[in-house]
Symmetry: C2
Subunit: 148 residues, 2 copies
DNA sequence: ATTGACTCTATACTTAGGTGTAGGGTTTAT
DNA sequence: ATAAACCCTACACCTAAGTATAGAGTCAAT
């Protein structure tokens, strides 16, 4: 449990060694310094949590670039508080929108399941209808639609 | 508004013409037949909704393969009802899990914003902590951890 | 009846996010 | 003290999801 090398980090966080290195190259996680005069790098336990976070966030539709942004919101003593706050608010909006859309699919699936209890025929159940394009997007699209 | 060709579909759904064709090649949307003896394909209005659905679902972290699975749950008179039901249940679980994780990030961001009201120093606010690795995953990982 | 905007097929290129491998050095268990 | 198991750097390769281009045909407005 003591000397955590890259292989253990990888195993604990459920990714491959090469993926850990890839995240290091992309500056998503810190690469610990190599002990002076040869040997292997030792990783702090947090690295595992960081990688798990990255994977979770990816599952939720965030790109590595966006995840880097999310991570940059962490305690950063040099950062301007108001700036962090603002960026956090942008992200919050984004996530709230996603949750709403996700719930749309969720309830569509629930309806689908309910309407298909083993007997009778499924008549209507387009999940597509469940995801109404949000207002903002509609407005944007309207502009582009001009020429029809 | 009558003869909707591929360019109009693209514009209305907010993607490029090549993307529409790409989705056709991948069988995510149907390619309408070419009118006998030359000419352009005419698209039904639904195609636009389909593409919007695809984009939304992508935003939410679904791959095109998964989206195809979601779409296959739509009214399909030939499909075995019990089978559709089962697949829908799998997807529902997946989505419910995502919503939970998303809410984790959401409340972490809310806390971050609250703890940074312009004055005082931000002490603790690791969004990372907010996303606790879910039980199931932890158990899975435990197995693999064996050798430490 | 011609021109500009659009479509068609086919193929090549790009970007993100990894994954694999070669050719070495290091640790650790025996 | 040696072999298996691991690490290191560097670079090549892969898949998903587009995006671009070429070269030819079609349509609609003047």
């Amino acid at each position: 449990m003591k000397t955590m090398t890259i292989g253990k980090v990888a195993k604990k966080s459920g990714v491959g060694v090469e993926t850990v290195r890839f995240y290091e190259r992309k500056d998503l996680i810190d690469q610990p310094p190599k002990p002076p005069f040869g040997g292997f790098r030792i990783y702090p336990a947090e690295t595992v949590e960081h990688i798990r976070f990255i994977r979770q966030a990816q599952e939720l539709g965030f790109s590595l670039r966006e995840i880097k942004e999310l991570l940059s919101l962490r305690l950063d003593p040099t950062a301007d508080c108001a700036d962090v706050r603002e960026r956090a608010q942008v992200k919050l909006k984004e996530i709230t929108r996603k949750i709403t859309a996700m719930k749309g699919i969720q309830s569509a699936l629930e309806k689908l399941i309910a309407s298909c209890p083993g007997e009778g025929s499924i008549q209507v159940c387009s999940i597509i209808d469940a995801i109404e394009t949000p207002e903002t997007t509609r407005r944007e699209l309207k502009k582009k639609e001009k020429k029809s």
